[in-house]
């Protein structure tokens, strides 16, 4: 039952991505419209028919997506703009109700996860559908507008939207290759496993440090959790849910400290026309340091 529902939800994602693919292909202002269109259509096929086609073919498509990205053939292009008049009219007519679909999405997702046997993933899917129907009813939007807003949103998310799934895939490849055990062995030579507090400090600091170097906490999470979090904290008896949740936010302390996280720390400097290029990071540094200590303490006391 759950699997059937999930397959239906993946097919819907496939449809949404196909829409983005078709509209990317039609966008003549985009010099890379064929590459971008192909990127979305590959994903559409993988989501809609993932288990029906041989895995090696899917793997080939992933490699091709990597090649397209390498040659800068996946680009945003020109997205349809939000009509300011409609936005203003909608704001006046709906007021606070404009937030209602978002609240319904969160409430329905959690309710299905908690009170039915369908699980969290199906919950998100059903929540998304119910909230979309509610948004259509509230805004009285015609189908064409729903289509336009869908392709605008999906294309604006772009290749960054698929990054979490690609990183999870990388994590799976690491596991298949035994990377975690090897790094654990290497680190254990320098830093013996066994101490709860030592393991927690090692994991949290490594998350923050690698995130600062790479500028991306998601990428650090996939790598550092396999290499440090599991062998040094979870395998020592730490509760996996607590360790993982706090491990990710410990990584965000690294994001707050690094010019590598350009979207968050460099973009505002340009946007706000600031004199000090490190001005945002300087305001964040005390909180980042304090939050790292807090999270080490929280993980140590809550996980064991």
């Amino acid at each position: 039952m759950i699997d059937t529902l999930l397959l239906a939800l993946y097919a819907l994602i496939g449809a949404v991505m196909a829409i983005a693919g078709i509209e990317s292909l039609r966008d003549r202002t985009n010099p890379a419209r064929f590459g971008t269109g192909l990127f979305w259509l590959f994903l559409a096929v993988i989501f809609a028919f993932g288990t029906l086609i041989p895995y090696a073919v899917v793997g080939g498509m992933i490699v091709l997506i990597g090649v397209l990205a390498l040659f800068k053939q996946i680009r945003l292009g020109t997205l349809p703009l939000v009509d300011p008049k409609r936005a203003l009219a909608g704001a006046q007519r709906l007021g606070g109700w404009v937030f209602a679909p978002s609240v319904v999405l969160a409430a329905v997702s959690i309710a299905i996860a908690q009170f039915t046997s369908l699980g969290g993933q199906v919950g998100i899917g059903i929540g998304a559908l119910v909230s979309l129907l509610m948004a259509i009813a509230l805004t009285k939007a015609p189908v064409k507008l729903v289509y336009t807003d869908t392709q605008r949103m999906v294309r604006s998310v772009g290749a960054a939207g698929i990054l979490p799934q690609l990183l999870a895939t990388l994590g799976a490849v690491f596991t298949a290759a035994g990377v975690g055990e090897l790094t654990a062995k290497v680190i254990a030579g320098v830093f013996p496993a066994g101490s709860h507090l030592g393991g927690v400090i090692l994991y949290c600091v490594a998350m923050a440090l690698f995130t600062a170097i790479m500028g991306n906490a998601f990428a650090a999470f996939a790598v550092i959790t396999a290499a440090v979090g599991i062998p040094f904290v979870v395998a020592q008896g730490g509760n996996p849910a607590i360790v993982a949740a706090i491990g990710m936010t410990a990584g965000y302390c690294g994001t707050l400290l690094t010019p590598m996280a350009a979207n968050f720390n460099t973009l505002p400097v340009a946007l706000l026309e600031m004199d000090d290029p490190m001005g945002v990071i300087k305001q964040q540094a005390p909180i980042a340091g304090l939050m790292l200590l807090v999270q080490i303490a929280l993980m140590y006391f809550l996980a064991f």
């Binding site: 949404v16 990597g66 390498l70 937030f99 999906v154 799934q165 706090i246 946007l271 706000l272 929280l298």
Partner: protein, 223 residues
């Protein structure tokens, strides 16, 4: 050479640090790791394809995009801006703290606005500057500090509350990664265990912002 398998980690670290295309870096790292651990090309493609298909749950948030697009084109940002603009005659810290609260609340419901572009630049920075100016004249350095603080508050609220939403990319990635590593956790468990950090952030940043006010009061006393 067993250690060759670690090449994937090296590629990720160097590739991200040098700002190569992120999608390409991750795919190359996966391919290199698989090859260096002794897989043949067909094995590699099968592993890659199977892992990607298994990890489809991470991308479930794509299903929420049509709804978000629709409310966005019908005034989501405008309603939020109206609400914030009603808060006139406030101190710098109150404006910053209210914005932090709004940002964390948005996190719970998965409303991730591009805060720096849509709020910090057009709304929060001018309001905080005006509130501080009402206390005393500002130097260019003061104004730069205000800009930095406003941008920082947006990041605090955004980062430490985004995992409160069950369908966020981060939560789904955590759940799926832990599953791959044979220590399964559900998205709901991740959300519940992200609450303490979100609450502590709120408290610490509120205190931090209150100190920021003193900067403008203290100098007034001295003048």
């Amino acid at each position: 050479m067993e250690y060759l398998k670690l090449i994937g980690i090296l590629i990720i670290v160097i590739g991200f640090a040098l700002k190569w295309d992120t999608t390409a870096v991750v795919v190359i790292a996966a391919v290199a790791t698989a090859l260096c651990s002794g897989m043949s090309i067909p094995e590699l493609l099968t592993t890659l394809g199977q892992s990607f298909v298994t990890n489809r749950p991470v991308s479930l948030f794509f299903l929420t995009l049509p709804m978000i697009g629709l409310v966005e084109s019908h005034g989501l940002k405008e309603v939020a801006v109206n609400a914030i603009q009603k808060l006139k005659k406030l101190t710098p810290s109150r404006i910053l703290n209210l914005y932090l609260g709004i940002r964390e609340l948005g996190g719970i419901f998965g409303i991730s606005l591009s805060g720096q572009v849509q709020f910090v630049r057009p709304l929060i920075t001018p309001m905080v500057t005006a509130a501080a100016e009402a206390k005393r004249a500002l130097s260019p350095k003061d104004i730069d500090l205000i800009k930095g603080r406003a941008a920082a508050v947006d990041n605090f609220g955004n980062f430490f509350a985004q995992n409160l939403f069950v369908a966020s990319g981060g939560v789904l990635l955590i759940a799926q990664t832990m599953d791959q590593l044979k220590h399964p956790v559900t998205p709901t468990e991740v959300v519940l265990n992200s609450i303490p950090v979100a609450v502590v952030t709120l408290v610490i940043v509120v205190v931090y912002n209150s100190w920021f006010d003193r900067r403008f009061n203290a100098k007034e006393d001295r003048a």
